[in-house]
């Protein structure tokens, strides 16, 4: 069993309790997942706060990165949702930094990747969708539901188009969460599988060791790719969030 876990590509996603806590029989234990949420939040917060603590007029390296991430997310949001969209900037920026730092921390060996769990990505997606719905109704009242009735569609087609719009709206949190979750999960499994090949092949000795060069090269290339995916998925999550928020601000296409 112990040996098994070394090669088992699913083992890395196992959640185990660090501090047991079962109020009313519900398992709310502090787990390795909770620990890495805490680490993610600490790393991101401390980086952003410490790097900008000098408030330098001419930024240093780390302050530059903090400013760049700020401008990057701000531009993404402004492009997608306009100036009115900037009221959601704290939320969008928090989501981007949280997902990005969580993805990147997951690249460290033996670190737990919190975004590889569908419930986490789904919860984040639901935060976005609920914000869209609540902000939309708050701002536009019932007119918000014009979102589902596009302009310029013939009367006969309206029921059909509206049904499609509603389905597409409901599928947003699912696609948003599954995209991130599946990318992180698949990437980490692939990495682990190729790394496992290296171990298995090397154990055979001789030709096996030579042959293990192939999965080793693959694992190296995949690591680079996974860093790209870690950033890209955080970006995609942010861009889609911005586009959905645009619906809350400007419903009725």
């Amino acid at each position: 069993m112990e040996n098994d876990s070394v090669v088992d590509p699913i083992h890395q996603f196992q959640i185990h309790e660090l501090i047991s806590w079962h109020p009313n029989g519900v398992n709310l234990s502090f787990t390795n997942s909770s620990l890495f949420m805490l680490v993610t939040v600490l790393v991101a917060s401390l980086f952003l706060i410490l790097s900008t603590s000098s408030r330098a007029l001419v930024p240093g390296r780390s302050q530059s990165i903090a400013e760049m991430s700020y401008e990057f997310v701000a531009n993404t949001l402004r492009d997608a949702a306009g100036h009115h969209g900037m009221q959601f900037f704290p939320l969008v920026f928090s989501l981007f930094m949280f997902v990005l730092v969580a993805n990147l921390l997951g690249m460290f060996p033996y670190f737990f990747t919190i975004t590889s769990h569908i419930i986490v990505t789904f919860a984040l997606a639901m935060v976005v969708i609920l914000t869209v719905i609540l902000a939309g109704i708050w701002k536009h009242g019932l007119k918000f539901f014009n979102l589902f009735v596009p302009h310029g569609v013939p009367m006969a087609l309206i029921p059909l188009v509206t049904a499609i719009e509603i389905i597409s709206f409901l599928s947003r949190p699912i696609s948003l969460s599954v995209r991130l979750f599946a990318n992180m999960l698949a990437g980490h499994i692939t990495l682990k599988v190729f790394a496992g090949f290296i171990v298995t092949l090397s154990a055979m000795g001789g030709i096996g060791i030579l042959g293990s060069i192939l999965p080793l090269a693959m694992a190296v290339a995949l690591t680079a790719l996974e860093f790209l995916v870690a950033f890209l998925q955080a970006y995609v999550f942010t861009v889609l969030t911005c586009m959905y928020l645009n619906d809350a601000i400007h419903p009725g296409h």
């Binding site: 069993m1 398992n27 787990t31 909770s34 939040v41 408030r55 700020y70 928090s94 949280f98």
Partner: protein
């Protein structure tokens, strides 16, 4: 043998049951609660501390750059004005210098001319006086020549002969000789 198989089976079964952790719903509650706590705190930290600070930094920089640019533009304007004033002053000075030079030249020329004219007039006057004097002397000399001639003639006559010649005769003879 049979026993080992069963235990493996059992182990495998439990393994299969928890084989895919992301879909293990018993961990959902814990993950959701801790995510809500940590993400909520993160949202507050970002919204209250990090973002205001970064936007303040960027705003300060933007306004500082704008201020510096407008300051530079103002200074440039001042420089241009100073250059224009300098050139104008230079032009005026040059014109003044030319005027003063011309005036001085005119004064000097007039002065010299006046002096020259005065000198010339003086010389001319002296010349006229001298000429008049010469003419007077000449006339006087000529007049005295006749008297000397008459005196010499009467002396010569009285010395050479005993004849008495009157003064009128001698004067007429001298006149005659002079006219010849």
């Amino acid at each position: 043998m049979a026993e080992t198989t069963t235990t493996t089976e059992v182990a495998k079964d439990t393994h299969v049951e928890i084989s895919f952790p992301p879909f293990n719903s018993t961990t959902f509650a814990s993950q959701l609660v801790w995510l809500a706590i940590f993400f909520g705190v993160f949202y507050l930290v970002i919204g209250r501390i990090a973002l205001p600070r970064i936007s303040e930094i960027l705003e300060t920089r933007r306004s500082r750059i704008a201020k510096d640019l407008s300051e530079a533009a103002g200074l440039k304007q001042q420089t241009d004005a100073a250059i224009a004033a300098y050139e104008k002053a230079l032009l005026t000075a040059r014109q003044n210098a030319a005027a003063i030079a011309a005036e001085t030249r005119a004064t000097l020329t007039a002065d010299v001319d006046a002096k020259r004219h005065a000198a010339e007039a003086e010389l001319k006057a002296k010349l006229v006086t001298a000429e008049a004097e010469i003419a007077a002397i000449k006339a006087k000399a000529l007049a005295e020549v006749n008297a000397i001639a008459r005196e010499t003639a009467s002396s010569v006559v009285s010395a050479l002969s005993t004849a008495t010649v009157s003064a009128e005769e001698i004067a007429a003879a001298v006149e005659n000789a002079a006219a010849r």
